[in-house]
């Protein structure tokens, strides 16, 4: 190849590049807003705007009943000054935490078996796991009433075996904190098992083999390789349960009774389902829940990233 040819080629390349280059440069500029436009608008209209409206109700800028009103933080102040709502919030957090931890503990071995046992039927078993969730949520929760009631399946069995007298059934089984946590655990189990399963299923088996070659016991391999690598899935699964259950209200409404009454029920009642509509307090409670959950999510994500960085 001569120098002249080379020069011509360079010129031609430069000319070729000169013509389409502006188009290439423009494309990403248009593509990004086009791609992000819809989700951002969706977020703005259906998430940020409603939050702004609720915030306006919480400080009395917007009110349910027409009449004199103006900016005030009295409802915010009363939340932190002796009302039982914070206590109820703590109770709901505690219940959600117990449910989330328990469900992760139950789901992990399940997902581990499905992902790493080498069974060829793992997807069939996975389908079996999620099969009940193809039926109505309400139906499944109501079915628990039949099982847990004073004359339900469990108590009837205990009467039949003579372990309990019909006059003294195990009455804590239904309309209680226990009932809410049990049903929530049941409802959320597949949502926990799936992300853990996905993490474990995509695990590089070579790492486990390497651990084995280096004389690590199965327990050591699990603790030093499998568990740390599956931690992102575990944390994601935990958040999947914890976030929605803190504000849960349907399950407590159906099986909770006075003992299983949760923070979410209080919010619903303040918005008009209970004694007298009090949107100001209801909005404060809703925003407080949102703020706490958002903070916890940020903390979890940071922890997760720090963990990933350590592993890297």
């Amino acid at each position: 190849m001569g120098a002249g040819e080379g020069g011509l080629t360079l010129e031609a390349s430069a000319a070729d590049a000169a013509a389409p280059a502006p188009r290439r440069r423009r494309r990403p500029k248009l593509a990004t807003p086009a791609l992000l436009g819809l989700p951002v608008s969706w977020l703005a209209v259906f998430f940020l705007a409603p939050i702004a409206i609720v915030a306006a109700y919480s400080v009395d800028v917007l009110v349910l009943f027409p009449g004199p009103h103006g900016f005030t933080i009295s409802a915010w102040r009363s939340l932190f000054s002796g009302t039982p709502y914070l206590h109820l919030f703590a109770k709901s957090m505690e219940m959600s935490l117990i449910v989330s931890v328990a469900v992760v503990l139950v789901a992990y071995p399940l997902a581990y078996y499905l992902a790493l046992s080498g069974t060829r039927r793992k997807y069939i078993l996975l389908l079996v796991l999620i099969a009940p969730f193809l039926t109505s949520y309400l139906l499944r929760v109501l079915a628990w009433k039949v099982i847990l009631g004073d004359q339900g399946v469990i108590n009837t069995f205990l009467f039949w075996t003579g372990l309990r007298s019909p006059d003294h059934p195990l009455s804590f089984l239904l309309y209680s904190r226990f009932a809410v946590m049990l049903v929530l655990g049941y409802v959320w189990l597949p949502f926990v098992a799936l992300p853990i399963f996905v993490t474990l299923d995509t695990l590089d088996r070579g790492l486990l083999e390497a651990a084995s070659d280096l004389y690590a016991s199965r327990l050591q391999a699990f603790l030093r390789v499998t568990l740390p690598l599956s931690l992102p899935g575990v944390v994601a699964a935990f958040l999947f349960v914890f976030i929605p259950t803190v504000g849960e209200f349907v399950t407590p409404l159906l099986v909770g009774g006075t003992g299983g009454y949760m923070y979410g029920n209080q919010i619903v009642d303040l918005f008009g389902a209970g004694g007298f509509p009090d949107w100001e307090t209801g909005s404060v409670l809703a925003l407080f829940l949102l703020a706490v959950i958002a903070t916890l999510t940020v903390v979890f994500v940071r922890y997760l990233r720090a963990g990933e960085a350590r592993l890297a």
């Binding site: 349910l64 009943f65 009302t83 039982p84 709502y85 206590h87 109820l88 009433k145 009631g149 004073d150 004359q151 339900g152 009455s171 239904l174 309309y175 909770g256 009774g257 006075t258 009454y261 029920n265 209080q266 009642d269 303040l270 918005f271 008009g272 389902a273 209970g274 004694g275 007298f276 509509p277 009090d278 307090t281």
Partner: protein
């Protein structure tokens, strides 16, 4: 016949205008405009009647009560929006629901009349109005105007299983009785503060002083651990009571009717000291500016008929404001004191009334539940 005088007048006038307009079409512009106006008026009065009502009073079993209306106005059948209580109705209306009529209970008549959300009825357009219990009719008035048309009525009292429960006296104390921990259910409503006040001998349970309110609320918080759940729908109550999960309930007469088919039950009216059951009367209220006032009157007239009243009494175990309506069961007749025109007033019961501090009562009730 319900609502007939007004409807006939309207129909004739509009039909005449329509006929005149049809004859003049293409000749002059005036008749066309008149026709437009007539059609507009008809259209406004047509369309489906929007009714906000409680479960059991809609197309979920209550059809017999408005059968006459549907028969007469097949093109204006009611379309229902459910309400779970007055607070729920108030929220829905304030936030854009536009029913033509809805049904709060007697304690809320003054509140809604003062709110500016409703307008008075014209009793002349309700032929069956003449047969309604005068005491209940009076309870539906505010400043001399008929804001509420009374229909169903009953009591807040105590239902219990006589094979399991042995009350010490005819008192509201049974729903606070420590012996039956976990077998009691309260009603999820601010009325619980009134009942607690009555039990604790507040001077006026509907308008308690701050000290009395503190006492009532603390008492409810203290006794809450005895309660299995607070019921907000009757089906929820029936399911739990029927299954044996609860034995004692703050209940309505219909609950007694339903539960006596499953268990030996007693519907007890408290009578110790100044304690009484609380009587409630359903009051149809007409929304201000409704586009279907005539249809609303016709609907209420159907509900107010003797036949509807009898059906309500026989099937739901509630009383009906039509004094001519009598149930076929003598037991029910006796239990509801249907032959007594003053069954809902003293000395038999306290007729439920306006709670001046309803917002505070509601707030305190929420705190009881949260505690």
């Amino acid at each position: 016949m319900e609502g007939e005088p007004f409807d006939r007048r309207l129909s004739r006038a509009d039909m005449l205008r329509l006929a005149a307009a049809a004859a003049g079409v293409g000749v002059v512009a005036g008749p066309a405009a008149a026709a437009d106006a007539a059609v507009k008026r008809l259209t406004q009065e047509s369309g489906r009647l929007q009714v906000m009502d409680w479960a059991g009073y809609m197309n979920d079993g209550g059809q017999s009560m408005f059968k006459a209306y549907v028969h007469k106005y097949p093109n204006n059948k009611p379309q229902f929006t459910p309400m779970t209580n007055e607070s729920d109705a108030l929220t829905k209306i304030e936030k854009g629901a536009h029913p033509d009529l809805f049904r709060p209970y007697v304690g809320w008549v003054k509140y809604f009349a003062q709110s500016g959300l409703v307008q008075p009825w014209d009793p002349k357009l309700i032929p069956n109005f003449a047969h309604l219990n005068p005491n209940m009719v009076k309870a539906g008035q505010y400043q001399g105007k008929q804001y509420g048309i009374p229909d169903d009525w009953g009591f807040d009292a105590i239902l219990y299983r006589k094979d399991k429960v042995h009350p010490k006296s005819r008192s509201w104390g049974l729903i606070f009785d420590d012996r039956y921990k976990g077998k009691i259910t309260w009603f999820d409503d601010l009325e619980m503060i009134t009942v607690a006040g009555m039990y604790l001998k507040a001077k006026n349970p509907w308008n308690q002083t701050q000290a009395e309110l503190n006492r009532s609320v603390n008492f409810l918080k203290k006794k809450k651990h005895l309660v299995k759940f607070n019921w907000s729908s009757e089906t929820e109550l029936w399911q739990a009571f029927g299954a044996g999960d609860v034995w004692i309930a703050y209940a309505w007469p219909n609950d007694w009717v339903q539960m006596k088919q499953k268990h030996p039950v007693v519907y007890m009216h408290p009578s110790v000291g100044r304690q009484k059951p609380i009587a409630w009367v359903g009051m149809f209220m007409l929304l201000k500016g409704t586009p279907r006032p005539n249809l609303a009157h016709a609907y209420v007239n159907a509900w107010s008929s003797k036949a509807s009243g009898q059906w309500l009494e026989n099937n739901y175990g509630y009383g009906h404001a039509n004094v001519e309506a009598k149930p076929s069961s003598s037991a029910l007749l006796k239990a509801l004191q249907l032959t007594n025109p003053k069954a809902v007033t003293l000395p038999n019961a306290y007729l439920d009334r306006n709670i001046p501090q309803s917002e505070l009562y509601g707030h305190l009730w929420e705190q009881v539940k949260a505690a």
